[in-house]
Amino acid sequence: MREVAVLGVGMTKFGPSGLSLKELFAEAALEAIAESHLTSKDIQALVIGNVLGDFAERQMNLAPLLADEIGLGANVPATRVEGGCASGSVAFRDAFMWVASGFYDIVIAGGVEKFTHMGTPQVTSALAMIEDSLYEEFTGLTFPGVFAMLAHQYADKYSIPLPVLKERMARVAVKNHYHGTMNPLAQFQKEITVEKVLSSPMVCDPLQVFDCCPISDGAAAVVLASREIAERKVAKPIKVLGVGQGTGRPLSRQKDFTVMRARLASSSQAYQMAGIEPRHVDVVELHDCFTIAEIVASECLGFFEFGKGSLAAEVGETRLGGRIPINPSGGLKSKGHPVGATGCAQVYEIAKQLREECGPRQVEGARIGMTDTLGGTGTVVVNIILGR
């Protein structure tokens, strides 16, 4: 296996957009290709993460149409992958393996989603398809509902009174909105308060509106190549140090899902491949689809002891300037969550952080960064470790 690096990255602004799936993707992909000092003619394969194109825009078989949109040739295979909200990271990891294996030299990975026009009941229904269709979906369980059950389970398991946990969860939202104010591509660039979170409408007890990430349109793309090509083409290639992908199970088979087995597996694969431990990571973009999701992820990735993640959030250890800055981009919560695009958008942020191009939200001296993307009820987790 040879060394692989990230060359250029591209990303649209997240949030409601008048652009189509193809137009959104082209914006991100062409930016990534230009930043790589390449042209579309140099790209040898495309892997795209997308979840709901069929329901959102009546578009299946999306990948070849995206390839054509950005001018890729007849010899370029174009493949759509779907792993729920982790689709973009699944695409990245597949592209990584294609280059690492030597089969291709230059591959573009991306993700795109467009569904703000669908309206909440339809989006909620479509996203529920990421659950187990026979044994979960018929209950009317929604994705906020899944993480709401997780929050109750967490409070019960660690004997944290629910009001205490809720306030700590609110601090996650406040922190990510604060980070989002420094990201011009974020859907929300406005600070909020704990009071605002705790007075917002209830979605699924105990999750309120500001515990939840928004519905977003957007795209992100990343060009990967052999390290040798990367070093010739760009001034600051970002090395892919480790990747991992784990598989979980439906909720009832997972039982205690405060510790997700897919994430334990995925992160340990990535750490082992990179030859590092959690304490070596300088900056993290992790899957904060809901405030409680950030807390359990921060524990499972090894940054805090199990049961201590909510306290760490409360005392500011995960804020910019804290011990381990989490989601400097604003995270899914404030930057937005166009589901298929999220994984590559996390890579975008980490690559920019490692190149020291993040302006006021720069994590000073960051040398190693990590992403964490979760799909389904913890059924897919992908971790990517990058370094400079």
Partner: protein, 133 residues
């Protein structure tokens, strides 16, 4: 080869009977049914009947529902007496007033048939738990 299909499982649920698969290698009961044992992965399983009794392990009140569902309603994960957990609904007269006190509450299984969902291969039958006291 498949000893308990989803249709057979649903048909039993319609009679408030909870069927599962008992592993003949490790003894674990797998429910809802699956081709392989939840614990050891063996395919050496036989159909068994569970008590339908258990206790709530976690819950939520869904207040923003997917298309076709009418909020509020309570979704629970219940641990069955025989060990496995099951996702279901709670028969709660006042769903909006559910609190953490639900966790640990003993429940017994009933069912609800769900026919209104689009893009399915047929209706679903959902465990509908009711509190016992």
């Amino acid at each position: 080869m498949y000893k308990l299909t989803h249709v057979q499982y649903f048909e039993a649920l319609k009679e408030n009977i909870l069927k599962g698969l008992k592993c003949l290698d490790c003894g674990t009961i797998t429910v809802p049914p699956k081709a392989t044992c939840d614990e050891c992965g063996s395919t050496n399983q036989e159909v068994t009947q569970l008590s339908g009794e258990g206790a709530i392990r976690t819950f939520t009140v869904i207040r923003v529902a997917p298309e076709g569902f009418k909020a509020p309603y309570v979704v629970v994960l219940a641990q069955l007496r025989e060990g496995p957990w099951l996702t279901g609904l709670l028969d709660a007269p006042q769903p909006e007033s559910a609190t953490m006190e639900l966790i640990g509450k003993k429940v017994k299984l009933g069912h609800r048939v769900v026919e209104h969902m689009k893009y399915t291969s047929g209706p679903g039958v959902v465990p509908l738990f009711s509190p016992v006291d």
